[in-house]
Every structure is written in structure tokens, then in C-alpha cells.
């Protein structure tokens, strides 16, 4: 009944995955959960526990997207549950930061950005302003080092949709970083 070699191999496989993906998964999940480290840790731990229960051959060839996807689903689940408990207002609005692209088109005056002293992480500042989905794909792409196809699997999108999101995200970053005022955004406030 026992086969210690198999057990070791089994262990090694999971431990390797843990070693490699622990930090990236936490970074990603922490984002989704608005910086709640404890919650993110729980989600990531859950993902690995779930991984242990998987048939290795079934997940191994898409391990990274599998893990990201599990984390994503659990994190979103958690957010939904949390929201359901917040009964202070009857409105059914989307959660924190889950903006529509239309919302995001507003409130921008890149030239003001240019006056800010910090140039070091200005890119991240501008990144923070992108619509949530664009932020997410950009992070998955450049922080998670995942391919379009993997991102598509994680976020339940088509590959071409991922391509459009990343493209749009990068173009917006470029525009805002270069500081050239965009005619679209000059009338940025609702009163205008």
C-alpha cells in the first residue's frame, strides 16, 4: 500500500509548484482582494491544497493558469460573499474598483501628472488608473509572465480579447506617460 518513492515525487511536485508560484500568486490575489493579506494567503493556501488533490497529469501541462484561475475564482467568491453581507445600502452596485471602461475615461489630465515630482513609479501610478480588467491582464502578462492564452484561460476570456485589453492598456500607458493631452479626456469632469 505504501510507496515512499511515489510519495516523495508527489511531494516534490507540489513543493516545486509552491516554491515557484507562491509569491506571484500572492501578489496577484492580494490585488484582487484589495490588499487583504490574510485573505490572500488563505486563498493561495486553498489553491495549493486543491492542487494536492488533483491528478498530477491533469494539471501539470497548464499548472500556472490552473493555479491563477483557482485563486481568482476563490478571491472573487470571497468578495461576492463579503458584499452580500454588506446590507447597508439597497443598491446593487459593482464592487470597489470594478469600473466600467466608460468611468475610467474620465478624470484624467496627464499634464498634471507630469508636474508630480515622483517619476520613479509614475508608470505604476498611471497603471493604477486603468480599468480594472486592463490592470489585471497587464499584471498577469508582465508580473505573472503568462501568455495571452494562459491569461485567457485564467480570466475566462478569448485570446483575442486578452490581446485587445493588453494592447489598449499599453497604448493608454504610453499616452499618459508621454504626457500629451488627449483630446478625448480634456473635458474630463461631469460638469463639463
Amino acid at each position: 500500500m505504501d510507496s515512499s518513492n511515489a510519495a516523495t515525487a508527489e511531494t516534490q511536485w507540489v513543493c516545486d509548484a509552491l516554491q515557484r508560484y507562491e509569491a506571484p500568486l500572492l501578489r496577484y490575489t492580494l490585488r484582487l482582494l484589495n490588499g487583504d493579506l490574510e485573505a490572500a494567503r488563505d486563498v493561495v493556501q486553498d489553491a495549493f491544497v486543491k492542487l494536492i488533490q488533483q491528478d498530477r497529469t491533469a494539471v501539470e501541462d497548464h499548472l500556472a493558469p490552473w493555479l491563477y484561475r483557482v485563486c481568482r475564482n476563490r478571491a472573487l467568491d470571497r468578495i461576492r460573499k463579503e458584499q452580500r453581507m454588506q446590507t447597508s445600502l439597497p443598491e446593487t452596485q459593482h464592487r470597489n474598483g470594478r469600473l466600467t471602461d466608460a468611468d475610467d475615461a474620465q478624470h484624467h489630465q496627464p499634464d498634471e501628472r507630469a508636474q508630480q515630482p515622483e517619476t520613479r513609479s509614475r508608470l505604476l501610478v498611471v497603471l493604477a488608473d486603468l480599468p480594472e480588467r486592463q490592470r489585471e491582464v497587464l499584471r498577469l502578462k508582465f508580473q505573472g509572465d503568462l501568455s495571452y492564452r494562459e491569461i485567457a484561460e485564467i480570466m475566462d476570456l478569448t485570446v483575442s480579447h486578452v490581446g485587445v485589453l493588453i494592447h489598449t492598456g499599453i497604448q493608454t500607458l504610453r499616452q499618459r506617460m508621454s504626457g500629451s493631452p488627449s483630446p478625448k479626456r480634456s473635458a474630463s469632469f461631469p460638469s463639463a
Partner: protein
């Protein structure tokens, strides 16, 4: 930028190497003719590389050591076992369990039944206990004696497998059949599943997966003779560490040991930031609610520290935040409980100054028995600001400074801001004016200062606001103050109302810079109100400090009712400042007071010499506002003061007048101590070698006064302060005779101490708090006190009553 060239997503896909071979060949053919596209590809690569570098530089968080261990331990599973109804997938139970055979299987199934139940959220407990009693045959005795009561962490994978295994009725039925066969037809009934209340159910929100795989650690104990028993972990499992506070927040009682009337108990200004920030800019949004730690005041002896000096505080945010946390089913973070703000949330029926009075407020002191420490006296200093009838309110120039960043896009944030401010506008008069400045990625003037006669324009502008972008608080504040100054009304109300979740992450980024900016702007004569919204990344510490430095007040708004209270019911108080830089200094008479403790106001403490220093900023008081401060006093020589014939030490629940105090039923038991000393009394120190004990003045011994209250304040537009001073003697009031206001304030304070788990809570219990509060409910104009009692009873459900 040529808009025509850069719309093709293939540009980016190509630049990032995401095109497949055929696509790439095709695209490269196109590129050959398009120099502009080639440049575009280069530019995209540039941004991509930069972004990659930036993102990779973000600190990487890690699992906790125990979590990593748990995963490793589970990965090193025992030989796989096929589980009934499990579709052929495997799980690895602990080896001994496997040996335990029949009964083990029974317990396994029960677990399978119980876990899904918990997952439905019906239970907030993270644990369950399963015992199988009765005549079930004992499992085969384990070979080793060490197995007697072997305790095992049940592989959490097991829980998950079981949950899935029993997901369908059929599977469950099949499984139960198996058990019945194996267990000799014995049926396991639900009553055998008992749940242990979680001693920390406050975690429900964040921890509702407590029972889910990977989090719950179920300890399985198998006594040799009694079948398998699943029992909860004895004290705490790693999964049940207290969340709710970012970072550690412990009161350091010794930190105030140096307090000698000159040194001020130091309250950490640095906000409790977690260690997982992504970057300096994103940091603000990445952390959760931030509360500055509170170092509770200790008992001080008047011989060493004759003066107690602090700034008044009319903020109320703490109570609303506590309420919000409780309504969410969480135990409030101790550092969110600021006693003075809890107490000051409520209105008290103190006498207001009459129109002809010299000072714009009146002080009212009451001394009676301390309900949670019956040998002690409780001193209530109440200040009531001049009331200004709604119609007499001076012309008002308001600038709404609204955070419309992405984080405000929640029902409890921007929509509530709009609703609240719309109500406020509805209640303004036509001579008042309102401007709206918003800030997000950039800041802008949404509405020029507009007379309320054009109410529709204001309401429309509010209505159209939507959230998006990151937060540049600094530029917004600059602009808002500029607009307020442009339309400054002399002798009127000039105020910026800042509504935010406190998530400042762009622009003037450092807290210090923002504070300095506000301090500077406050000199312009424009006052500030900060309204905190939402929960999740509320920067409470920042908001309170901004209000503090900006000559203003801070409130936390979690519901439209709260907006109604702050913005409409108490509009005059919230808008019209009647005195600024109000400081209180109390001198205690060592002949009467052995030691004293100020309840709350920890972050409002001032050095004794700051009292007379008009350059030192302090709190503001609005029209009709009440400010309450409580001191707990350990009197000197209680025996001598007690009425003759009553043996005071044996009857600690008697007041100085000898009558039994109300509330003695609840407080009496815990109190008796042999020598009448209390644990909270300061430690005795050796006599000084080089100094004689202080010499008391004649007044100390002859006046019978307990203390003298000194107040300093400035007129709203003044620069020099006025002093008000009055001595107070203890009339020996019992708790019974105390006013309703006194009782209610004491109840709120006691509850705050319970929530903080303060060392000074004495015999206070939640039950007692409810009694005391009900005794003080008589004056309850707006129903807030009734709400308080409701809230306390809610807290009782959330906090394990046994732990109190």
C-alpha cells in the same frame, strides 16, 4: 500620436511575441512597408519592458510559515484511499485512521455532512465536534501505546474531498449505506454533530471559509475506548489568529510610565502599515483600514503629575466605525475604539450658555461612583457649546471636496456621499453657497461656487459625479481651499467638507506633506470637515489627523442615517465653529485624589506647558456640540470619607454616602479586595532620597475640592486664548443619584473598554453596560441611545459572552 496606426492589437501581440507563426509571417510582411508600425512596435516594447521592470520590483508577499508547512505536510500524504462515492479520485487519510477502520469511516462521513453545512454560511464557527457515543464497537486497539489519544491534524484535503464526495444526494446516500453496513446498522444522526461556538466569530466575514479545506485545522482525537471523536482544537489553531487589525496593535501600558506632567504619553503617529505594499504609491490602496494604535492612559498620582492636559475632540468617527464592524459581524479592531469619540458620538443634555454669557460654552462637572470600580469615583466634565438656531446660522460658504477615485466606486462610498450632501444642500438657505471640487487622478472644479438659490444646479452636479481613477488628494485640497478663499464670507461659515475613503495615493503622497498642507491652509480661516466613507481601505488615522490639523472635525459615515445625523440634525454644530483651540487642563488635589486616569483622548494629550501656549493647536467646538471627558479617580483615604459606622472595605459596593449602589449586583462581586487597593493603582515607589515629599497648600487640605478644571479657548477668528477656571468638589453622589447623562456616558466608556479589552475595565460586563445604558436612556432625543443598546446587544452575540 497617430491614432490611425495604433489600433491594431497585433502590434502589441507581435511586440510581445504572442503571434503564432503564420500570423507573425503575415504581420512581418505588412511591417516591411510600414516604418511607423515598426516604430510603434519598438515603443510598445519600451513600455512593456519598463512595466515589467516596475512590476517585478514590487515586493513579493509570502505565505506564513505555518501555511507553507501545512501545504507541505499535506503534500506528503499517506497512501491514497478510495473514498465512497468519490468518482475515483483519491485522498490521503492519516494512517492510524485507516487502521481505525469502521468507526473511522463513520467519522469521515459525518465530517462530510457537516462541512457542506458550514460552507453554506449558516454557521460562523470554524470548528465542529463530532462524537460518536453509544454502543459502537471500539476500534481495534492501536499497536503502540503512544496512540492512546493521538491527536492529528486532519488533512484539510480530506475535508474538501469529503465535501465533494457528499455533494449529491445519491452519493451521500450511498456513502451512508456503506457506513450502516460497516457499522452494524447503526445510524448516525445529526444530533451527534455538535458545533462549538467559535471564540472569535468576529471573523465571519473574512473567515467564512474557516471550515473550508486548507484553513480549518481539525484535530482528531481518538480515545482508545470511545470510538472516534472529533474535537475542536483546545485553544487556537493557526487559522484562527485574529485578523481585523493590520499589524500588531498592543497597548503598551509601560510606555506612559514616564509621564510626569511634562512628558506626554506618546502615541505612535506612524500608521499601521502592513508589510505587503506593492509600491509606495499603490501602498495606500493595498492595505486595509488603518487605525493608529492607542496606548491607553494609565493611573497617575497627582503628587507626581498634578496636571492632566488635553485638547477637546468632537470627532465621532470611532463609534460609527465600531458600529459598522459589528454590523458586518466582526469584532471591532481595538485601535478603532477611541473612547472619547465613542462618548462624544452622543448628545448630552448639558446646560447651554445663555445668550448673555461671557463664554461661548458652558462647562458642567458631575462626580459620582464609578460603576465598574465601585471604590472609585467617576468625574464627568461636560462642555456644551452655544446653540445657534438654524435660522440664525451665519451665511455659509461651503466647498465640497470629493474623492471620486476608483476606490470610491462602492455603494457605501460615493453614492452615500452624494445622498448625504444632497440632503445637506436641501437644508441650506438661499444665501449660502456651495462649490464642488473633485479629485481623482487629477483634480478639478466641477461646480463653481454657486448660491443655493440655484439648488438644482448643485444637486445636478452632485448627481452626475462618478468614480474612477486614482487619488490625488493634495491637488484637490489646494484647489478646494483656493475656491473657499475666493468666496470667503467674513463672519460667516467658511468650510471645506472633504469626503473620502482616505485613500490618498497620488500627488502629495506622504502623510507629513498632506498634514503640513492642511496646517498651512487652516490659517486662512477656512475650517475643515473630514467625512470618512466605506470600509476596506479607510485611512482613519489620516482623516482624523487632517481634521485635527485643519481646524475641523472628523466623522465616519456608514449609512444615510449617519449622514443625516452629522450633516442635517447637527448641521449647525458641524458647520459653525464657536470656539477653536479648546484645551482642558485639570489639576488634581493630592489631598483628595490618590490617582486619576483620563478615559480616552490618548491622541489628544498635550504637554502641561502647551495649555498656555497659544501657538499650540487644539480642538474646535461647534454650535450646540457637547464634549465629554471622564476621569476615573482613586480617592485618598476612603475610610475617612465613608460615613461612620460603615465598614467600607468590606462593603466595596457602597458609595461614599453609604448607600448601596445601583448596579451593585453586577459590579459588586468582582470588586472586593482586601485592602481597598485596586490592581490599577500605580505601583508604590520608594521614597525619594534627595527630595522631600511635595508640600500641600492650605487649599488642598481645607477646601475639600477634588480638582480644578481650566479651559482655554479662542474665538473662531481670534489668536489669543481666554481662560475659564472652576474648582470642583465631590458631593459624594452615588451611582443611583447620578444623572442619566452621566450613566449613559459611563456605559459607553465601559463598553469601549470592553471592546478594547482594556486592563481598566474593572468589573464591567456587556450585561452591566446594557443596564447602565438603559438607566441613562431617559434623554434620548434622536434615538441614538436606544441604538446604542441595540448595538451592545449585537456585540454580545458576536463576542463570546463567556470571554467577558
Amino acid at each position: 500620436m497617430n491614432d490611425m496606426t495604433n489600433h491594431d492589437p497585433r502590434l502589441t501581440a507581435y511586440a510581445l511575441g504572442e503571434l503564432d507563426e503564420a500570423e507573425r509571417a503575415e504581420f512581418e510582411a505588412l511591417l516591411a512597408d510600414r516604418a511607423d508600425w515598426r516604430a510603434e512596435v519598438e515603443a510598445i516594447r519600451g513600455v512593456a519592458d519598463e512595466l515589467r521592470d516596475e512590476l517585478m520590483r514590487e515586493p513579493a508577499p509570502a505565505l506564513s510559515g505555518s501555511q507553507r508547512e501545512a501545504i507541505r505536510a499535506q503534500a506528503q500524504g499517506q497512501p491514497p484511499l478510495r473514498l465512497v462515492g468519490d468518482g475515483g479520485r483519491t485522498f490521503r487519510p492519516a494512517a492510524w485512521w485507516w487502521r481505525a477502520g469502521v468507526s473511522g469511516a463513520a467519522a469521515v462521513l459525518l465530517l462530510g455532512v457537516a462541512l457542506p453545512m458550514m460552507m453554506r454560511g449558516r454557521s460562523r464557527s470554524g470548528e465542529l465536534a463530532i462524537e460518536s457515543r453509544g454502543n459502537a464497537p471500539a476500534p481495534p486497539a492501536p499497536s503502540s501505546g503512544a496512540d492512546e489519544t493521538r491527536e492529528r491534524d486532519l488533512s484539510t484535503a480530506l475535508g474538501s474531498r469529503l465535501e465533494e464526495a457528499t455533494r449529491t444526494k445519491d452519493e451521500l446516500a450511498a456513502a451512508m449505506d456503506q457506513v450502516r453496513q460497516l457499522g452494524g446498522g447503526r445510524e448516525l444522526i445529526p444530533s451527534e454533530i455538535s458545533e462549538y461556538p467559535n471564540d472569535w466569530p468576529a471573523l465571519s466575514l473574512r473567515r467564512q471559509f474557516e471550515g473550508s479545506p486548507g484553513i480549518a485545522t481539525l484535530h482528531v482525537r481518538r480515545p482508545a475506548s470511545d470510538g472516534p471523536t472529533l474535537s475542536p482544537p483546545s485553544a487556537s489553531s493557526p487559522s484562527r489568529t485574529r485578523p481585523g487589525v493590520t499589524g500588531e496593535s498592543i497597548a503598551f501600558p509601560w510606555a506612559t510610565g514616564q509621564f510626569d506632567g511634562q512628558d506626554i504619553p506618546f502615541v505612535e503617529r506612524e500608521s499601521l502599515s502592513a508589510d505587503f505594499f506593492f509600491s509606495p504609491d499603490d501602498a495606500e490602496s493595498a492595505s486595509r483600514d488603518r487605525f493608529n494604535p492607542i496606548v491607553e492612559n494609565t493611573f497617575l498620582a497627582p503628587i507626581d503629575a498634578p496636571l492632566s492636559t488635553f485638547s477637546i475632540d468632537v470627532d465621532t468617527a470611532s463609534y460609527s466605525m465600531v458600529r459598522r464592524q459589528l454590523r458586518e459581524g466582526r469584532r471591532p479592531s481595538p485601535d478603532s475604539v477611541r473612547l472619547e469619540e465613542m462618548i462624544n458620538y452622543f448628545d448630552y443634555d448639558y446646560d447651554a450658555p445663555s445668550p448673555g454669557d461671557r463664554h461661548p460654552f458652558r462647562a458642567n462637572v458631575e462626580v459620582a461612583a464609578c460603576p465598574w470600580q465601585p471604590e472609585h469615583r467617576l468625574v464627568r466634565i461636560g462642555i456644551k457649546g452655544m446653540e445657534i438656531p438654524h435660522d440664525d446660522r451665519p451665511a455659509t460658504n461651503l466647498v465640497f471636496l470629493l474623492d471620486v477615485s476608483g476606490s470610491m466606486n462602492e455603494p457605501s462610498k460615493l453614492p452615500l456621499v452624494k445622498q448625504g450632501l444632497m440632503r445637506l444642500v436641501e437644508n441650506l438657505t438661499v444665501d449660502d453657497r456651495v462649490a464642488i471640487v473633485v479629485y481623482a487622478g487629477a483634480s478639478g472644479l466641477v461646480l463653481e461656487s454657486t448660491f443655493v438659490s440655484e439648488k438644482d444646479a448643485i444637486l445636478g452636479a452632485l448627481d452626475r459625479l462618478s468614480a474612477g481613477g486614482s487619488t490625488n488628494g493634495g491637488a484637490g485640497i489646494e484647489l478646494a481651499y483656493q475656491v473657499a478663499q475666493d468666496h470667503f464670507i467674513k463672519d460667516g461659515v467658511n468650510r471645506v467638507i472633504l469626503a473620502t475613503d482616505g485613500d490618498f495615493n497620488v500627488g502629495v503622497t506622504s502623510q507629513g506633506d498632506l498634514i503640513r498642507l492642511i496646517e498651512d491652509k487652516a490659517k486662512s480661516g477656512v475650517f475643515l470637515t473630514t467625512l470618512g466613507f466605506g470600509m476596506g481601505n479607510l485611512n482613519d488615522a489620516m482623516l482624523e489627523q487632517l481634521a485635527d490639523k485643519g481646524n475641523g472635525m472628523c466623522a465616519y459615515i456608514d449609512t444615510i442615517e449617519e449622514a443625516q445625523k452629522v450633516l442635517i440634525d447637527q448641521m449647525s454644530g458641524s458647520l459653525v465653529t464657536i470656539a477653536k483651540d479648546v484645551k482642558i487642563q485639570v489639576e488634581f488635589n493630592p489631598a483628595v485624589v490618590n490617582s486619576y486616569r483620563l478615559l480616552g483622548y490618548e491622541n489628544r494629550a498635550l504637554a502641561a506647558q502647551d495649555f498656555n501656549d497659544d501657538t499650540k493647536d487644539a480642538g474646535e467646538i461647534g454650535a450646540g456640540h457637547t464634549v465629554t471627558a471622564l476621569y476615573e479617580i482613586e480617592p485618598v483615604a476612603m475610610l475617612a470619607l465613608a460615613e461612620p459606622g460603615l465598614a467600607a472595605p468590606a462593603e466595596p459596593s457602597r458609595g461614599r454616602d453609604g448607600r448601596v449602589l445601583e448596579g451593585a449586583e453586577t459590579v459588586g462581586e468582582a470588586a472586593p479586595q482586601e485592602d481597598g487597593q485596586t490592581e490599577a493603582a500605580p505601583p508604590q515607589i520608594d521614597p525619594l532620597r534627595y527630595q522631600a515629599p511635595a508640600v500641600l497648600t492650605d487649599l488642598a487640605t481645607s477646601s475639600g475640592e477634588m480638582l480644578t478644571v481650566k479651559l482655554r479657548y479662542k474665538k473662531p477668528d481670534g489668536d489669543t486664548s481666554t481662560l475659564v477656571e472652576f474648582p470642583v468638589a465631590d458631593q459624594g453622589k452615588s451611582w443611583d443619584d447620578a444623572s442619566g447623562d452621566f450613566k449613559f456616558a459611563a456605559a459607553v466608556a465601559a463598553w469601549g473598554m470592553i471592546l478594547r479589552d482594556s486592563a481598566y475595565k474593572g468589573s464591567a460586563t456587556i450585561d452591566a453596560v446594557m443596564d447602565w445604558a438603559r438607566a441613562g436612556e431617559s434623554t434620548d432625543k434622536h434615538g441614538y441611545r436606544d441604538q446604542f443598546v441595540q448595538l451592545v446587544s449585537r456585540a454580545q452575540q458576536i463576542m463570546d459572552p463567556k470571554s467577558e
